[in-house]
Symmetry: C2
Subunit: 338 residues, 2 copies
Amino acid sequence: MATIYDIAKACGLSPATVSKALSNASDVSAATRERVRRIAQELDYVPNAGARALSQSRTWSIGILCQDTSQMGLWHYLFAQVIESFKDYVEQHGYDIVFISNKVGNMGLSYLGHCRYRRVDGVFIVNTDHAQTDARELMESNLPKIAIDFENEKIGCVKTDPEESMRMLFTHLYDLGHRNIVYLHGERGKYITEERIAALEKAAAEASDKSVNLRLFPSRYYSIEGGFDSMKKLLSATKDDRPTAVIASDDYTAIGVIEAVRAAGLSVPEDISVVGFDGIEITQRTNPSLTTIRQDTKAIGEAAAKNLLSQIAGEEDVPKTVSLKPQLICGESCRDIK
Amino acid sequence: MATIYDIAKACGLSPATVSKALSNASDVSAATRERVRRIAQELDYVPNAGARALSQSRTWSIGILCQDTSQMGLWHYLFAQVIESFKDYVEQHGYDIVFISNKVGNMGLSYLGHCRYRRVDGVFIVNTDHAQTDARELMESNLPKIAIDFENEKIGCVKTDPEESMRMLFTHLYDLGHRNIVYLHGERGKYITEERIAALEKAAAEASDKSVNLRLFPSRYYSIEGGFDSMKKLLSATKDDRPTAVIASDDYTAIGVIEAVRAAGLSVPEDISVVGFDGIEITQRTNPSLTTIRQDTKAIGEAAAKNLLSQIAGEEDVPKTVSLKPQLICGESCRDIK
DNA sequence: ATTGTATGTAAAATCGTTTTAGGAAGGACC
DNA sequence: GGTCCTTCCTAAAACGATTTTACATACAAT
């Protein structure tokens, strides 16, 4: 493959001049620049990203961490959309993406190790067990970085405003007359879980209505089966005091919840109203269609990208946290019981 | 960040020896090797993939081309699973993945240009418009490469055996008594479309039954809306000779088909039987659940990875085409009309 | 004693860029 | 004519590895 040396030789110039000509440096005459360009074309020259990276000490690549014990793998519908939006954005700015893993070859690299091996210019933490040593090490590092739905002193985040989201859901149910509500929340201890629980309890408290009975019940994220099992347990645990509405941790869980309600011989929304979270496409195709909070995945990906690129560029005053507006999608899974 | 030079200095050795010690070369004493290892640990050394690539002229990275005009983007459920499986496999062998695009920065790189810019060791063509100039250029190149559902002289492929798949579907419907069948096929001209149509017609011919009436009707891949629209048209075009069964090009299309049947005041499977293709998870959650052909996405990804790594290793007799077994999943979308 | 063979290490070249420091040529100005 | 800018270009170092060649030393075989 042709290199700048080949071009230099063909043009009768030095490699340095060729490099500058190709990168639009100011101290090359227009005539020379054009000649170099032409010859480069003719020789089918493509720069070597690795060599460039070595000399610039930046690779124009960004790491993405999206790993989880959940069976969904990397391709959770929601995360996938966020990643795609992120990728499109950074790609336009010349970056490629590297999926960070701690199982590369037999090198025994940690997440951070992998980032350093590939010399990524920054990292986007989409999903991981934030409590795990490996993830912690990465977040402690001083790489430019941004996360989704997680933050601490060392890392900022992009998220769909939890306060507003949960208030929207609660208010929607409350206005339909629901007072006996259960939140089927995701794994306790996860940052986003705690945040949403707090937000929901706050919204409930703000109603200042003694008749409101908000209870929590554990489930897990992104699992139809998990939603099914949890709802089954919930139903048998609340025989005498069945909730009139259930807020699922996410849309998959909500699908499972609906199945469980049916399996118990009850109906949605006649007997129990159900709402989800995330607003993935399929929720509008289910039967009944689901009332849920839509997260704007495109905006999330873009906001994360913009923030990270600003950090990489060394800009000052890069916002630490970006909070995006949720949108309530009204399906047919809730009944007015007033 | 520590380099082998730092280690060399700390050990009182030459960089060459350090390099060899770290790569388990034979001509380094065990004692030296251990010492180097220890110091490397202490200095928190991580090799620089770019530098390594420059000197080895291989990057340990593989390009993935998965782009399409379809609105599904990169994250089509089926392709996503294949890519994940592929990624897991090559990752274990030390490779990272690069998504190939023709919109990187403002460099105006073609697909092949991007591959050359990043010096990928091989490329996996998951989905693209194979007729497009850019894709053709890539396939003409002499990079190690493998595709899904496409092949020609220059590139081999991994696919779910079309002959067997289509025969399974046809036979299933035939055995249920269906004689009036429509295939709602994907875009004409696509390799896989033509292959499946031919396979289906062959299976129908093999029935040697004059009463079999197999018709083709155009639709497009992976679109619920597309399936809906096509089925609507089909219903109005066949008022007097409605098919008893419809084979959709894929599961998404099948979902749209079912909606269209309902919208026409008919029912699945009472009035019309519907089958899909791909076997994505959600088809078992729809109402009714879908009879479909399951493609083994994990096996596809692995087969592609294995094949590509063999090519990269320069092995001889790497199989050009790998054909995998389909699996018939029986849902409740077909009725026995005998 | 000589030759040969491992063995362990070092020096230097190489990979393809970018960057820094400077040099030559030519014009403008006093 | 000398000084000072510009403008355009080059040489050389740097980036961080790997790889090839060469050179010691030790020890065995002849």
